[in-house]
Symmetry: C2
């Protein structure tokens, strides 16, 4: 079994923290979660450093290191995590993060003698602002939901929605690192070339079909050398953890530009991730068997292992919410657009990582893999407006007064994710929120 | 006119250097070139630092900085270039590189009083080894040769080789940064999924159709903020210079994986660039008008400017050479496979950069753009074996005893580039050489 599937005392559902807010039922950051981010205090211009969420607080790893509270592997991991990116911590592999989370889990537990020394290292999340958790060398986006691939394919090829390679190849492409931002990202409606329906000459102007895509992100921990594939039974040892990811997409730019080399300007104007990375260790209680529908072939040998079959999938609940300008004006709540789970993914995180390296491609600590839009099997579980509105044909009702085919200026999309299961404590990912501003003058 | 089109004393064809090897007729690195690389001495394990080629020597920018030979903007540029990557120098924009090259051009000129202080800063190229000239944040590859696009398209769609978007959109996609290496790179024949001809189930194993692609690379100097497009009349101010680039490609993996999101594992196992970056300033004497064939439309407004029409193209001669294992055994010379010029490119460097940012995508210093395979209008000017062998149907004679449809184990591909024109001094790019080793055991 993969280490990521094993349970230990950090998963103990009875464990409670002396940080009282961590014990709130339904909160994102109980003591069983302990995810990592990079933050600084909003009020004073101090430097960004790593932190670990506990309830409504952050354990400041720079303060923890300065106070030399942990020694050994946990102390080394805290030092690595105290930098302005988590790349050094990621490079230590899952054992580094485990040592630190184990030490923190013990020290943050109710009754721990460490409370008095740890208390000064806490920063309220309300006072924090976040930046990207890692220097992302390369960003890859996959296409791992067969439901998304089928729904989108049907819009283009009604009789033959799924291309012949889909069931065999974890389809992916390289995305843009420079335009990835953390929750709170704002971007202007992108301009570009598109071919208006029924015309033969392209026009240049603001995209009329900007969409969100509900995805998860996977951060690489230790990498591999060029030419050294990572076999599937080792794949999860190279994964640090997961976040939420919104792969904003301009559908009209995409339709005109994507053949034959794939999406480019339709995607690279912005990508928004949640600040918190949930470790694979914290996700262990939520693993589920990897299964295939009767009509789908078994994966090829290099994408198959006993551990992957037994628990390669993860039941991560995912949601997309929309808050329009009118809703903000009215003081109305955001509205949920869809709800699904990553358990429906056609490929597991281990399969994505192994496929990525089968040709010898080298991954590096801090590299980010996107899972692709995670639509579930039901139409209402679709992870994009393109799918929910069936290519823009059927507007989606939003609140009492509005509807949407694609996003409008001022729209704010909030993606959420969490895990819950009987007998465990719910853990949350926080959120990845982003907003589209009007296009700039051309 | 763009600054990159203006001539100054660094271009003076009468100028000769006291570094005698720089005055050799037909050499790559006369005093009119002065390109940048990052190097170290091979014999002692010192650190990598920037250098400038002159004849068969390198001006060591770390030594130059330590000796405080230049002051002002040239001194600041030398300090920026003395680091282990050229990103800081690139960030200064073309004026930084210009100041340093102008000062070096004067100091390296025959009769300069600086000879005695500069002489100790020279390192023989024979004693040097190179690394990547920049930390490449994002790597984008374009598809800017209509002759390549047509030839490759014809293999897939004989009646309709060119897709409708090609004549309008500078087609590009994001590539892999982590697997880019400098000349001398070796890689194992990649493994992966492919669909054997006539079959319906894929197999996994070594690629049988590994190819080279003859391209040029473009390094970004100053970048742009997310949301701020770079208009075409400013584009060349954001370009540091150009190199040679080999976009190694596994055609059988590509054919099976590329729909609908483009090339991925077929390309990301290795990319080889030349160590030397030739500045746009050095390329100024070789600019030629940007022209279109009668059957091609004029570019859309955002991709057009008077300067781009007057001299947006560059006559860079490019060649691909092959050295097989048998040739090495026989002591035979490498054989030239093809010869063309970047002047045939359908899009100019300014158009590629401007298109990349039209949607607000941010570029950063050190980002690399590939031009795509630069095939010329004649079949013999094709920049890949896929084209030369017409999809593998017509083996290419190589030396007296061999032929090739695709590359074989041990094959070494050497790409070369240079500029020459009556009334100017020839300048060269050096070479980008790389070798394919046998596949590793699966």
């Amino acid at each position: 079994m993969s280490v990521a599937l094993e349970l230990n005392s950090t998963h103990d559902p009875q464990r409670r923290s002396w940080v009282v807010s961590a014990n709130t039922v339904g909160g994102d950051f109980p003591i069983q979660n302990l995810p990592f981010a990079v933050f600084r205090r909003r009020a004073r211009p101090d430097t960004f450093r790593g932190g670990v969420a506990i309830g409504d607080q952050i354990v400041d790893l720079a303060a923890l290191t300065q106070a030399a509270i942990f020694s050994g592997e946990a102390g080394a991991a805290a030092r690595a995590g105290a930098q302005s990116t988590l790349n050094a911590l990621m490079q230590l592999g899952p054992s580094g993060a485990h040592a630190l989370r184990q030490a923190l889990s013990d020290a943050l537990s109710e009754g721990s003698a460490m409370q008095s020394v740890l208390q000064p290292c806490l920063v309220p999340q309300l006072d924090a602002e976040y930046t990207l958790p890692a220097r992302i060398g390369d960003y890859t986006d996959f296409f791992a939901s067969i439901h998304h691939a089928t729904a989108v394919g049907r819009l283009f090829r009604p009789d033959n929605p799924l291309l012949p390679n889909y069931q065999w190849v974890p389809i992916g492409y390289h995305g843009r690192s420079s335009s990835i931002g953390v929750s709170g990202q704002q971007f202007h409606r992108p301009r570009g070339q598109r071919l208006p329906p029924g015309q033969t000459l392209p026009v240049v102007g603001p995209s009329a079909r900007v969409d969100y895509e509900l995805e998860l992100g996977i951060f690489v921990s230790t990498g591999n050398d060029l030419g050294d594939p990572i076999p599937i039974h080792e794949a999860e040892q190279h994964i640090f953890g997961m976040c939420i990811l919104n792969d904003w997409s301009a559908r009209d730019l995409q339709a005109w530009e994507y053949q034959p080399l794939g999406p480019f300007l339709a995607k690279n104007f912005a990508t928004t991730i949640s600040p918190w990375i949930i470790t694979l260790e914290a996700l262990a209680p939520f693993r589920v068997p990897f299964t295939r529908r009767a009509e789908d072939p078994e994966p090829l040998d290099y994408l198959s292992s006993p551990a992957n079959r037994a628990g390669g999938a993860i039941d991560i609940r995912i949601e997309a919410w929309l808050q329009t300008a009118l809703m903000r004006e009215r003081g109305a709540d955001a509205q949920r657009l869809s709800y699904s789970s990553f358990r429906h993914s056609y490929w597991t995180v281990a399969q994505l990582l192994t496929h990525h390296t089968v040709n010898g491609c080298n991954l590096q600590p801090g590299d980010l893999l996107g899972t692709g839009t995670q639509s579930g099997p039901m139409p209402a579980e679709a992870g994009s407006l393109l799918e929910l509105s069936v290519g823009g044909a059927h507007p989606v009702q939003v609140g009492a007064e509005e509807n949407r085919t694609f996003l409008q200026d001022g729209d704010r999309v909030i993606l959420k994710a969490w895990c819950e299961r009987p007998g465990t404590v719910r853990i949350g990912f926080g959120e990845a929120a982003g907003q589209m501003l009007p296009a700039r003058a051309g």
